[in-house]
Point group: C2
Chain length 484, copies 2
């Protein structure tokens, strides 16, 4: 593969999905894809990493049903309004019409919170922090795109309850820190957390905070979001506890939802290059591929034996490795495993077998950059090079992201920055629906830019700043970008 | 809890599910349960163990859609007939009626094999061995029972393709070996593999082989089954390859389905005792609980500090441990963690803190059996005792299972053996539907016994043996048991 990712991102994206066998789009239900082994192996590693971070922060795993009675679904007014257009409904089972329609979960608040009402009685039951790893289904009306937006996706949803607002707000901060710890520090994906405008919140939430990353085509993609639900759902689902004063009080809630299939899409889009995937070492299905270089006229037994020796050594150390002893040429194999994003390639020819060395090539190194290392230090060097590769990917992605943060004081500047593919900070009138949405609609109509919200921890502008669109006093620094 | 598991299994089973918080049955869709953290943590460990064994044997993970078009579903005649009464159907999404009804997968043959047809061209693509870990939904008409039979369950399904019959038959044997390696050797669950009678096969299969284990009430429970699909589905779904002679040939297929939520139910039913859960060390959510014993009038700081020291030591070694420093009495804590099946309890009082020792109690030891061990060898001893506990559980379960295998030559003997809760070997006329089903129906009507099939590797009886029910020549040794 040789496609300019930066210039032709859409072509690059579609090509890599089929060439690297990440997903098959030919499944015959619209908006549903088949995830093939190469992507699933990475996603499983990503799930494991995420779940470990959730559990480290006091979350426990549970599994709730995929089907939710329509009556549950209708309990919280904003939620039902927001999600009803997206629900797949089950009305028949076998030959029987069900007494009540069942929703395939688009998200699990309305399945979980009725159970929370049974489980929570007093302060000893709080905080309650539960997550589940599962699939959800949403009948998307927007155009679907594999990994980024499909009608079925694979996610984790964490639903937490607290005695008070401070507890819930603390969880929102913890969710943001956890996003940093996983998405940036492990997957190498840079992002900013925005508090979404009032007109763009999760249905039923008090506030929605969402992590936006930037794709190579200059469009932002929403990654995990955390929602301060306040007591809206608790009141609707009767999740009350007896507080220290002996009073019955609703719990404060948050929910947090990292979509692993989408994050995987973001990860390979951010790190990939024109030759194919480039995967962080810890999340590559295969970390080391060993390629035997057999001389044309010679017996390759010694080389192949040595390859096996190297393989066993790496495997015993817990490194995911394999020998590619297929009949293809070494050049074919190099291209293939570069396309697949394998972090390290070990070339083994007669010289290496004889001298007990390895020739090591790192996926993101300039062409022809090779190092010869002694077998005895292979494990150590593989781990070190893997870790350096991941660090380089993160740093490169971060540099790119920061280089595409921009500022605009006027509509002309905003237009120019959006056309450069930036996330643009602008002075902005209001995040309230009735005060600020009109400007967002204008910006959308004029430049296809979307007001993504305000940065979580940023101070508001000075009084003299005026809204980039309407010229009224600016209450916020808003961030505008083209979005998926 | 103190219930005689052997005498009152049903009460024991229902009580432990609620007391140990394994599942909540109050979810408001019939046949669907909420799996709570204590069971989910074990099931996650069981999934990991099973997936590792599948991958070790050349399987790769994939993820296929949960929804299957009705037209796919109807392609294989026997399959559609068998599963249609059990399907949850989606006809509406948002406010729209779908062009075609979609089945929530009851199993994934009809989702997967159309894709296999696209992926398989020649011998280089074979064998193809793919599994997915997912949920399936079946509108069961039989009575549901949490973990054992519900309308939603959590399983793994492996679907494999081979160039020829020998390959497929080899896979059936490998599936059986894998079941032994996981269910018996890791989870400690004994079973026998039976080739099911022709009237009790998986819809669309040539042969069905299923592992039956025995519950304490003398009823057998079907655990993983592996199916030789022959070329039935391949022909229906057009999964052909070009063989070495250049001819177009259908692949030979197998599928294998361990239901983790059911296996978990079998595991705790087999190993539990009258006081609660007893879990194999490797699959216990918590492996060691540390209980501080604080003197009534003394400052417990030194004891609590020492507990933390022990905890950190064990945690660093990868042992799942916690300190129970709740305000409950030690006796309350002992009962609680025994109910939860924690393999090892460490008691820490003033003496232990001073002398740097641990008092260790193993879950399945006779009451009051304690050992004092030095802190320096704690990790080693914990691991050893954990491993010995698991080995004892397996041996005990195996003894029990073998003691309940019986033989009957007459209907009276069969009746007596079934009433003792045995799996009973009998001479039997035929496994063909038109020849042998009538006898099975008779045995069912008379003794509530079910003909489970013939043992996979057993030689048929001598010519002189006569069917236990009809007296005709016996072609088989059949196994009869009461079933769930």
């Amino acid at each position: 593969m040789d496609i300019d990712k930066q210039k032709n991102f859409s072509e690059w994206f579609n090509t890599i999905i089929s060439s690297a066998e990440l997903a098959d789009l030919r499944y015959n239900v619209k908006g549903f894809v088949v995830f093939r082994p190469w992507s699933v192996k990475s996603m499983k590693l990503m799930y494991t990493a995420y779940e470990a971070e959730l559990e480290r922060r006091g979350h426990s795993p549970a599994l709730f049903p995929a089907l939710i009675p329509e009556s549950n679904f209708k309990i919280e007014g904003e939620h039902v309004e927001g999600f009803t257009p997206q629900v797949f409904w089950v009305e028949m089972a076998g030959g029987n019409k069900l007494e009540e329609r069942l929703a395939m979960r688009p998200t699990s608040e309305t399945a979980m919170y009725q159970m929370y009402a049974l489980w929570i009685q007093g302060t000893a039951d709080l905080p309650l922090k539960i997550y589940q790893s599962c699939q959800v289904w949403r009948y998307e009306t927007k155009a679907t795109k594999p990994f980024f937006r499909s009608r079925e996706f694979h996610w984790i949803e964490a639903h937490d309850c607290f005695a008070d607002e401070a507890g819930a707000r603390g969880q929102v901060r913890e969710d943001m820190e956890m996003t940093q710890a996983v998405l940036f520090e492990q997957f190498g994906i840079p992002f900013l957390f925005f508090q979404r405008p009032e007109w763009d919140k999760f249905p039923g939430a008090v506030h929605t905070y969402a992590a936006d990353t930037l794709m190579p085509d200059g469009r932002v993609l929403q990654l995990p979001s955390t929602h301060l639900l306040g007591t809206n759902f608790a009141k609707a689902f009767n999740v009350y506890y007896q507080n220290d004063k002996g009073e019955r009080a609703p719990v404060w809630q948050t929910c947090y939802g990292p979509a692993i299939s989408r994050i995987y899409g973001a990860m390979f889009s951010v790190h990939g290059d024109n030759r194919g995937l480039v995967l962080p070492y810890d999340f590559a299905p295969l970390q080391v591929v060993i390629v035997p270089i057999l001389g044309k006229d010679k017996d390759g037994t010694a080389i192949l034996q040595y390859c096996q020796e190297v393989l066993e050594m790496l495997t015993r150390a817990g490194i995911r490795a394999k020998v590619d002893d297929s009949p293809n040429t070494p050049g074919f194999k190099y291209n293939h495993w570069e396309l697949q994003g394998v972090p390290l390639r070990v070339e083994v020819g007669g010289r290496e077998a004889e001298q007990k060395t390895l020739t090591l090539v790192v996926r993101d190194a300039p062409p022809k950059t090779k190092a010869t290392v002694p077998l005895a230090s292979a494990i150590e060097i593989v781990r070190k090079e893997g870790s350096l590769l991941s660090a380089r990917l993160t740093a490169k992605a971060d540099d790119y992201f920061k280089a595409h943060l921009s500022h605009a004081a006027t509509m002309d500047e905003l237009k120019a920055a959006l056309e450069k593919g930036c996330i643009v900070r602008v002075p902005y009138c209001s995040m309230e629906k009735n005060e600020g949405k009109a400007c967002a609609d204008e910006i959308k109509a004029k430049f296809a830019g979307d007001v993504r919200g305000i940065k979580y921890d940023e101070k508001p502008p000075h009084a003299k700043e005026k809204c980039v669109q309407c010229g009224r006093d600016a209450k916020h620094w808003a961030y505008v970008a083209r979005q998926y």
